[in-house]
């Protein structure tokens, strides 16, 4: 569990995060959503310590990250995995070397044990046999999966994903979402995801925080989002006519005005 208490962050005169508090729960996919420039990425960078918040506290399972010195943070960071928007794979290394890197750096396992672990995680992300490929030789979706494999290779307790679906086709996006959800449940980790993707919101949003201009505007689950009356949230989530129609349908369903087992052909007539 990660507790965020009254985080504030400004760059010069511009306040990017203004007094945000929330709790990211273990075993759940915690989504941070919002328009571009709403402070999602800065929020995530504050959570992992790439940016230092101006005030407020970040507490990882009772350990106050904000008060830790660099040495203690280093220890905690070994239990953090992160998937970056552009995957951030090391260009000069193969897929196998990329995943081996954290193992080489932080474990004293034998080469055979390390290689076994690499193959396990590659298997977990469905990338068997891609060991000797370079990042430049694989697709965007595969890069994301390698990024996930590298992030989970040290069995992290916390997983951060910065826009895991950006630049991917809808089908691959769904696969990545499914994979993140499965890993979160399987290893019981605290997953925090920054996303714009509405499919992700609806599919894996166990806990969603909507940010608007640096402020936490709304918080809830993917079940609750349909019934939210928050105008800013509705304008963001249900921006297209198609999604607005889908929301209306869901609400009518919930109110019992439409039969769940309705015949779509008849409805369309």
């Amino acid at each position: 569990m990660i507790e965020v208490k009254n985080i504030k962050k400004a760059f010069g005169d511009k306040t990017v995060i203004n007094d945000v508090s929330t709790v990211f729960k273990t075993g759940m996919c915690n989504l941070i959503i919002g328009t571009s420039g709403s402070g999602k990425t800065v929020m995530m960078k504050c959570l992992v310590g790439l940016f230092e918040p101006d005030s407020g506290e970040i507490i990882y399972d009772g350990m106050n990250f904000s008060e830790m010195n660099e040495e203690h943070r280093k220890g905690l960071r070994q239990s953090i995995g992160m998937l970056f928007q552009g995957s951030a794979l090391f260009d000069s290394m193969t897929v196998e070397q990329n995943i081996l890197f954290p193992l080489d750096m932080f474990t004293k396992n034998t080469s055979a044990e390390k290689l076994k672990r690499v193959n396990e995680v590659l298997d977990r992300v469905n990338l068997q046999g891609a060991n000797n490929k370079f990042p430049g030789e694989i697709s965007g979706g595969m890069k994301k999966r390698v990024g996930i494999a590298r992030a989970i290779v040290l069995n992290p307790k916390y997983l951060f994903c910065d826009e895991p679906n950006s630049g991917l086709d809808p089908q691959t996006s769904l696969l990545i979402d499914k994979l993140i959800k499965e890993i979160t449940t399987e290893y019981n980790i605290t997953t925090v995801i920054n996303t714009h993707d509405m499919n992700s919101v609806m599919e894996i949003g166990d806990h969603i925080m909507y940010m608007y201009q640096g402020i936490k505007e709304w918080e809830g689950s993917n079940k609750e989002i349909i019934f939210s009356k928050n105008k800013l949230l509705n304008d963001f989530i249900f921006a297209s006519e198609f999604l607005r129609d889908a929301k209306d349908m869901r609400m009518l369903e919930a109110e019992g005005k439409i039969d769940n087992n309705r015949n779509m052909d008849e409805l369309l007539k």
């Binding site: 220890g75 960071r77 953090i80 970056f84 951030a88 794979l89 090391f90 260009d91 750096m105 932080f106």
Partner: protein, 245 residues
């Protein structure tokens, strides 16, 4: 004002390198990799420059020494001292500032822009220590070696040019090489090469590591790194000559 803030950031970047390595073996591996990249990678260009530099200096010295009262072996003495004192350490380091400096700046800049440095930070690695320190150390080990090779090749190039053009015989050249040789000159050249090695690795590493933006900024940082390194090499060259000679 910008100069002071940049200089302060440069010192902070250097200070940040000195922490206990997370895994000595990995740092050693990276150090050896950098030695190979900087040393072996630059050997070809250093060899070519050195041979021609020596050859040209023989021909030009001979062209200027027209007096029949000056023995021909003096040409070899002048070539030797020019190559050892100035051409090998300074000229080669100026070229290395371009070759090695732009490589270091663009490599680190690309890692910064593509969030690879952030990825390392998240893993709990001190990126200044892991990415900059091995480069700096490798440069300080390998560049003086390249300078020594350059001195030998420069003198050999001079000897070859003198022989091929018939300006002076190999025996006369060898005789000149042994005359009035001061070992202190080699010490001076080594002092220069260590100083220049530090400059041409730390300045590009600083500019590359602190890149902000995209590919355009990587190019700008790379160019700035080379320009600043070259100017500082020339400045340090003057200072060291004034102090040590």
């Amino acid at each position: 004002m910008k100069f002071f803030s940049e200089f302060g950031l440069y010192l902070l970047t250097l200070k940040g390198m000195f922490t206990k390595p997370e895994n000595g073996k990995m740092y050693w591996k990276e150090f050896m990799h950098q030695c190979s990249e900087i040393g072996i990678g630059s050997l070809g260009i250093v060899a070519i420059i050195s041979v021609f530099m020596g050859a040209v200096s023989t021909l030009q010295t001979a062209y200027q020494l027209v007096s029949p009262f000056i023995p021909l072996s003096t040409i070899a003495q002048i070539v030797r001292d020019t190559v050892i004192l100035e051409f090998s350490p300074t000229l080669v380091c100026i070229v290395l500032a371009g070759v090695v400096g732009s490589k270091i700046a663009s490599e680190l800049g690309n890692m910064r822009v593509s969030e690879q440095i952030d990825a390392l930070e998240i893993m709990g690695i001190n990126t200044k220590s892991y990415l900059i320190f091995p480069k700096l150390l490798a440069a300080c080990v390998v560049i003086p070696m390249l300078i020594v090779i350059s001195m030998v090749l420069g003198i050999m190039g001079g000897r070859l040019a003198g022989t091929l053009t018939g300006i002076l015989s190999p025996a006369t050249f060898d005789k000149g090489l042994h005359q009035f040789f001061k070992p202190y000159n080699v010490f001076f050249a080594m002092a220069k090469s260590y100083t220049f090695a530090f400059i041409i690795s730390s300045i590009p590493a600083f500019y590359g590591y602190n890149v902000q933006g995209g590919s355009l900024e990587i190019g700008r940082a790379s160019t700035k790194a080379v320009v600043v390194s070259c100017v500082l090499v020339l400045f340090a060259d003057y200072l060291l000559s004034a102090i040590l000679l």
